[in-house]
Symmetry: C3
Subunit: 393 residues, 3 copies
């Protein structure tokens, strides 16, 4: 693996093995998915005590639940007795977590309450469910499966004003869609990170966002936009992502990207989608890119937010989950139309399902060779640099 990593030539796409070798995939699971922070959902999904939902990927299943004290917890869905899954429903409400196999029961903190017919030397306190690190950003729930997670402190301090501005603690999740992609997860993440493909592949997106334009043109729009700026928190840029993250800290990124003239939001025709988020008081013709950890991305329009998460099911299959958020006071029918609001990223991600699967097919060929990246694939280059670094033994 060291040789493969060292052979990588900057400015090019990755070699085939990174997309097809199962040993590399196992290493990715250990070094990335079991180590980094992952966005799993929103507090509004589990408003009541005992509410829970499952977050699943590869071979893992995690229970996200709200306890009696109102706290949100993440627990491994693996019984400490013989390992059975405990929660079999994808979501629900329960007073306690009772394994359906031998009825070991745990409270919503994961503490083992009862285990029948165990010998006297059995230590219940040592047999609680494995607890997973969890952090809230407003209502957004992040987990880390690491024993000692990467620090989120800089990110929380750095972006506090941003979270406040957009009212991260006053949002609600109104829709989640899952897109199954027949490709290695990296091809899906790389696809999300570059807008070089937007013009040929995403007409709908390209009619709204300046990011689809060639760099020179896009920069003209950005400069024009920044001249009009009234809110430094909204228009700032913050680059601690991927290989730019500090040692021991989780990576993050924030920037503001202009929409095309006349566009207010990510909808057909760029029309307003819902009531303005948080403390936003006007449409400024732009949207924010936010990234927290390597797998979770958010696109913040002035009136709604879209979340994207990429997780593997196996070396050759992954899922993209898309989450749509609005102001918690927004009402369907009055403030927003669900179909209109979700249209752009549904149609865009459906297209990406095909695009990325076709990319994998060609990468599988004996004749695939890493190709030269364009100047519009710079963000992806940061991903590749970081990826090869974290993969190193």
């Amino acid at each position: 693996m060291s040789e493969l990593i060292n052979n990588y030539q900057s400015g090019y796409s990755l070699g085939q093995s990174f997309y097809t070798n199962d040993d590399i995939y196992q290493k990715e699971i250990e070094n990335i998915f079991l180590k980094h922070w992952i966005f799993v959902g929103h507090a509004s999904q589990i408003p009541e005590h005992g509410d829970f939902f499952l977050f699943e990927f590869d071979q893992e299943s995690i229970i996200i639940t709200r306890t009696k004290t109102g706290e949100i917890n993440a627990l491994l869905n693996v019984c400490r007795h013989r390992g059975s899954h405990i929660c079999l429903e994808k979501k629900g409400n329960t007073k306690s977590l009772i394994c359906p196999y031998h009825a070991w029961s745990y409270n919503l903190d994961g503490k083992l309450l009862a285990a029948r017919n165990m010998n006297d030397d059995f230590d219940k306190s040592a047999n609680g469910l494995h607890r997973v690190h969890l952090e809230l950003i407003g209502g957004l729930i992040f987990i880390s499966l690491a024993e000692k997670p990467l620090s989120l402190k800089s990110m929380q301090a750095d972006l506090k004003d941003t979270f406040d501005l957009f009212g991260f603690d006053k949002m609600k999740l109104i829709k989640q869609n899952t897109y199954h992609i027949r490709a290695n997860w990296k091809l899906a993440v790389e696809n999300y990170q570059e807008c070089y493909h937007c013009t040929p592949s995403h007409r709908e997106y390209s009619e709204i966002h300046a990011a689809a334009l060639p760099p020179a043109k896009r920069n003209q729009h950005l400069e024009a936009y920044l001249k009009t700026k009234t809110n430094a928190v909204r228009t700032r840029s913050c680059d601690c992502y991927f290989d730019l993250a500090n040692e021991g800290e989780e990576g993050y990124q924030y920037s503001r990207e202009p929409l095309l003239p006349g566009m207010k939001s990510g909808t057909a025709g760029g029309i307003a989608a819902s009531r303005l988020l948080g403390n936003i008081t006007d449409y400024d013709g732009a949207a924010s890119d936010l990234m927290i950890g390597p797998l979770s991305f958010f696109l913040i329009y002035d009136d709604h937010m879209v979340g994207y998460r990429f997780m593997p099911l196996s070396i050759a299959k992954c899922v993209c989950d898309i989450f749509w958020f609005v102001h918690e006071a927004a009402e369907e029918g009055n403030d927003y139309d669900l179909k209109e609001l979700t249209w752009l990223w549904d149609v865009t991600t459906q297209a990406d399902e095909e695009i990325v699967a076709n990319n994998q097919k060609g990468v599988n060929s004996h004749f695939y060779r890493p190709g030269k990246l364009s100047e519009m694939e710079g963000f992806q280059q940061h991903f590749l640099n970081w990826y090869l670094k974290v993969l190193k033994p």
Copy 2:
């Protein structure tokens, strides 16, 4: 593998690799499935000369057939020419075994009768079908794929009276069901071996069998039952199973387990299911557990017998076959109702299909760790001890 085996801690479940590593699975095929005795069916399935049925698992297919002389034979379903399967139907009747590919034909003893257009130096006598060791216990057919099979002599001698009592040579098979389980075969076998899960998972079983009770309560029932005993053959116990088997001999086990008060048989309400087996003259409120070899189990009620066999299809899939037997003179409609008689173990095994698949899901997690076994999982501990012993290089 030696390290994995040595790392096993007694009193705990097995580590993950034993359920997910394909090298271990291949070793299991060699050391267990190609070596130990396996129950494959009943003489009543092939009453006439030329009758046959196939027994299949993993990559193997074996023809069980009755020859002209009335003998029952087991033959590998692999042509000695280019290896084609010979019998393509799961059961049937045939005068000889003719390979559908090039028409090499064998008699029902496996002897090569004809092979067209072979050179003169071709030795037909050296090209018969591979014969498989076969042993009958009453009408129950057992095979061993080993070159030199483990001895069944002690078992046959030890249990002769038991077989006579229950009339093993006067039974007929009235139903066979196959249950596909999405889990490693060991999780299915372990599930069968412990009644710790009966109370939470099998209400139907637990309303009939005392084995579902906690040990102290179950022992009270057993003691009470043994006091009433009138038949030492029926109530004996015989522990030569798994790691308790003698060197060079196949393992076996017999014991009598009480039913709950008032219960006569394994039916809804514990009512009688059919006419009494063999020389049994009364219902004594109990049932017998019989195990012959590591994969074949029988539950003998006074009026019918249920057989269970666990075989792998691949590392992550197995099948449980269930066989229902009654007295050969019993008549459907008069003596028994097929639906009533098969109900308990059909509903119980359908539940186990789910239970065991959920167990596998959790065992696949990176966070699964071997868990402490309860005092109701002692039989399973013997299985684990034996398993690790036979796996050793």
Copy 3:
């Protein structure tokens, strides 16, 4: 692998590993499928400029297209940027090849015409599509994915008269069928190479072709036929196939095989199927076997030709494609009935789908051992000799 190869005993079928070991399969892809000449289709499939069709196997996809100058080209369907498949439709017509991902566009020669937003140092001339060697035999299109392909010169010179006689440049493709076979590709190729199985498995074929008869009888037919010969080009035999090929040259074979008395063509009852091919002026009661490269076979009746190609999808799955050709002037309805003309090899190959899958099942058994070949499997022996030679490291 060397040990496996050296252990092979001539006169016997191959050992199990050759049909089940994935390392061996990867070696086969490299040494056989990426090296030898493969028949991919017919010029009549792409008559117009810009017409294309895809040829696909294992992980490869190749675009066969006709350029502005009327030339036929083969190009790897793998974008030089990030590797996406470019043509997504199996066939069609296009002015240029534009990658659907980032819109890199290539002309039909594979030359990179345009790549947006690349840095100034990007060399377009070095980033054309990978071109594949292509050779036409009449209208038959052959490709080689080798860097330096095996020579076809001897074959072309040797068989020129034969191609002229049967009018290889005056044929048209009227039908192509794909048969999916659940077996390793070698079992399918071996099956095609011997007629030992014809009598038991292919009644339809055996009623028309003398090749299904035992060698002595078949030779009588051949001798009788050769006595009547009026055309030395039609009746010649040419043995440069498999291990008989010259070093550095692709193997090929031609011979004439008698039909049964009264049979004119490969149809029910042996009746004429279409107008006579090329310069053929009479039915002579025979058909020609032609092989070019190790995977492509042709059966030339006097009035139509059938092509067969075997390609792997994975170690345990392959496809047989069958192509039916007639004189380019033949008209459906008047000169031939499509159903009558395609009947024999459709029914025969459907049978082979089953036969070969059953062969694989038995070969998978732990008890499979290489078996002795018959005197009717001599051609297959040449295949095996060649196969083991090309596999050698």
